[in-house]
Structure formats: C-alpha cells, structure tokens
C-alpha cells in the first residue's frame, strides 16, 4: 500500500518526464515540439493520471517558437489548460495577479516586464506573511531559456574554514 498519498511524489519527477519526452520528440523527428503542443501534451499526461494517481504539480509553461513568437501556458494540477499573457500560482498569486492587472499591458518590452516582476516581488515581500526570501527571474526568448537574475533577501553565508 505504498504511495497512495498523491502528495508524495516530488514535482521534479513529472516536469523532468515532460522535459525528456520533449527532447525525445526532437531526436526522433528532427523538429522541436511547439509550445502549444508541449502544453497540450503536458495537460494530457496530468489528465490521464488525475483519477488514479494525480500529480500535485502546477505549471507555468513559457516557450518561444520561430513562427509564432513567445507564448505562456497555465497548467494546474487538475489538468486545466489556459493560454495567457500573465499567470501566477501559490499563496502570493493573489498579490501578483493584482499587481499585473494594474500594470501589465500588451507589447511590453523585456525591461518593462522585469520592472513589473520586481514590483510583484516587492508586494509579496511586504504583504505575504510566509513570503520566501529569495527569487529567481528566468527569461525565454529566441535564444532559448536562461537565468536572468536573482532577487535575494538572504544570501548564503560564505563557508568559513574551521
């Protein structure tokens, strides 16, 4: 009777499974999966597992396709799928969504978007009781996905030789 608890498997297991399937598709077929196709495939896997052994994973999927540009998909743990301009998960999502409702507009530049992200982080830090100390910002564009910056309140203390 092991692992009847749906919260037991870590989220990395599911997302790595998706990652490797996306890579396999590219190896097999010589062309990459579009962001939309990846999102639908991911949702399908969540949906199949939902009524037996659900994955407790929420996903915001960001991708860039040569033909259609950047796109964002919201996939929650009960296999809803929405193509959106802005998305948020977690306890801080209420604050994030409110800030984005106020400040987001279409055709923002990357710089404006990062400024908005910083505004969101400030809100979470000040308003959320259980706010996490550190944030990482990643960007997905024509050159792929990369870490852009960290916003740290608590930096790792340097190791002192004993």
């Amino acid at each position: 009777m092991k692992n009847k608890n749906p919260f037991s498997t870590p989220s990395a297991q599911f997302t790595e499974y998706i990652q490797k399937n996306v890579a396999l598709y590219q190896f097999r077929n010589g062309i990459p999966l579009t962001t939309a196709a990846t999102a639908n495939f991911t949702r399908g896997e969540l949906a199949t597992a939902l009524r037996k052994n659900p994955y407790m994973v929420n996903i915001i999927l960001a991708g860039y396709d040569k033909e259609t540009g950047p796109s964002l998909y919201f996939v929650d743990y009960i296999a809803s799928l929405h193509k959106l301009d802005k998305a948020a998960f977690g306890y801080g999502s209420y604050f994030a969504l409110s800030m984005m409702d106020r400040h987001y507009h279409r055709d923002m530049t990357v710089e404006e978007a990062v400024n908005l992200v910083d505004k969101v982080i400030m809100e979470i830090r000040s308003r959320l009781v259980v706010a996490p100390p550190n944030f990482v910002i990643k960007i997905v564009d024509k050159d792929g996905a990369r870490e852009y910056a960290w916003r740290e309140s608590i930096k790792d203390a340097p190791v002192v030789a004993s």
């Binding site: 077929n29 999966l33 639908n40 495939f41 399908g44 033909e67």
Partner: protein
C-alpha cells in the same frame, strides 16, 4: 493452414530457396526476405498510381482496374483515400490489406492530434505506418501487407510533400513517383519530364500523360482513372477529388484521351 505468398517463376533455378519461402521471419542464405519480395510482386500486377509534387500542391492519379458498367461508383473510391484533413494517399495492391492500413493510419493521425492538438506532421505519419508494416516482416509469423502507398500532404514544417512506402516498411520522399503495374516505365518517364518548378496544372498534365502511356488498356476514359489533388485554399489544406466529368474534360484538353475501339 496459413495463406502465404508462393514463389512463381522467380526462383525456379534456385530450388533450395523454396525452403525460405514460407516464413516471413527468417532471411534466405542470400540475405533476402522472400515474403516481402513476393508481396511486392503482387503489387506489380495491381493498378498503377502516380504522384507528382508541385510548387502549389501534390497530384495523385490512379488507374482503376475494376471497371464494369455494373459497378456502383457513387461515393466509394478505389485508389485514393483521405487519412486526415491534411494528408491523403493513393494505393496499389491488395485492396483489403490497404483498408486495414488506411484505418491504422487514420487512427495514428487522430491519436497524435488528441495528444498535441495539432495536425500530425506528414513524415511522422508515414514513418509511424511504416513501423507497423515493418513489424509484419520481423515478428508474429504473419505475412506482410501487399500494398504500396503514395502519401500526399502538407504541414507547416516542410510544406507540400510526397512519400512512397512499400511492404518492407521502407519509405522515402519523392518529387514524383509511381507504384503498381509498369511503375518502372512510369518512373523513368517522370524522371525525364519532371521539372523542379512545375505548377499543379502542369503536374496534372504530366501525370495523365505518363499514365496514359504506361497503362495496358487500349482506351483511356475518365471511368478508368481517379485524380485527386492536395492543395492550399484560403490558407487551409484541401483534398480535392476530380469529378468524372471534369476528368474527362481534362483528358480531352491535354490530348490524352484515346477513343475506345467501339466509340461512335
């Protein structure tokens, strides 16, 4: 007792090779798979089909072997089938085998769309079907399918494409290809006359011309042929079957009709 392809006049000299006829799952001493080759023999006796890739579409033409005034031809086709909205195929060989594979291809296409919410890329569909065909040459002890296909389709990765596949499960992409009876003659004729920037209308003309020259029958009428095209219309892929009336007009227009012996 299992029905298998029996060698005919092919290997009358090599008596020993008959030992390797009866099972698909073994090689002959010369490294051949006889059952696969016999399947291709069967296709060589079937009605021919020609496919031509053009700038703005793919043309498929097929020769109907079963022609009779008694035949009810209202909706059914003998040579061409739609696999998905963006892919169609022409068939040469055993019709009942073809029906199974066409259904398999249709299911594979829908299964892809179910998972990815996108049309299946044409080459992937062909590859998937050929993987199925290959299985029948390696395990299970079942005979191969006696069918060759010409797949015509469009996808956003490579535009218009034409593929040919045979009972071995091999496939390749072509600019122009022929399957069925007299396919070698048709293929060499296509090689001579095909030009890279051919338009769809020129491709139709070339296909009809080549077919008329390689068909065995004495007269060429629209009842003996099927013509279909895969093209883009308003940004969407369209599979268009030519009506017998329009086909007859085309035959006259291209000067390809030969009057039947008893024409008035």
């Amino acid at each position: 007792m299992k029905r298998l392809w029996i060698s005919s006049d092919l290997q009358s000299v090599y008596k020993m090779s008959r030992r390797y006829d009866s099972r698909t799952t073994i090689f002959s001493p010369e490294g051949r798979l006889y059952q696969v080759e016999y399947a291709m023999e069967a296709i060589g006796n079937a009605g021919s089909a020609i496919g031509i890739l053009s700038k703005d579409g793919v043309v498929l033409v097929g020769e109907k072997k079963v022609t009779s005034k008694l035949l009810q031809t209202s909706a059914s086709t003998e040579k061409m089938y739609k696999i998905d909205d963006h892919v169609a195929c022409a068939v040469a060989g055993i019709m009942s085998d073809a029906n199974i594979l066409i259904n398999t291809a249709r299911v594979q296409a829908q299964r892809y769309t179910y998972a990815y919410q996108e049309p299946m890329p044409v080459e992937q569909l062909v590859q998937s079907l050929c993987d199925t065909k290959q299985g029948y040459t390696q395990f299970g002890g079942l005979r191969p399918f006696g069918v060759s296909f010409l797949f015509a389709g469009w996808d956003k990765n490579y535009g218009f494409q034409l593929y040919m596949s045979d009972p071995s499960g091999n496939y390749s992409g072509w600019k122009a290809a022929a399957i069925g009876s007299n396919n070698q003659a048709a293929q060499s004729m296509l090689k001579q006359d095909y030009k890279d920037e051919i338009t769809r209308e020129e491709a139709v003309q070339l296909a009809l011309k080549v077919l008329s020259k390689t068909m065995d029958s004495t007269s060429l009428t629209s009842e003996k042929l099927e013509l279909a095209e895969v093209l883009l219309s308003n940004g969407k892929v369209k599979y268009q079957v030519c009506s017998p009336v329009a086909l007859g007009e085309l035959l006259v227009k291209f000067g390809v009709t030969q009057p039947a012996a008893d024409a008035s």
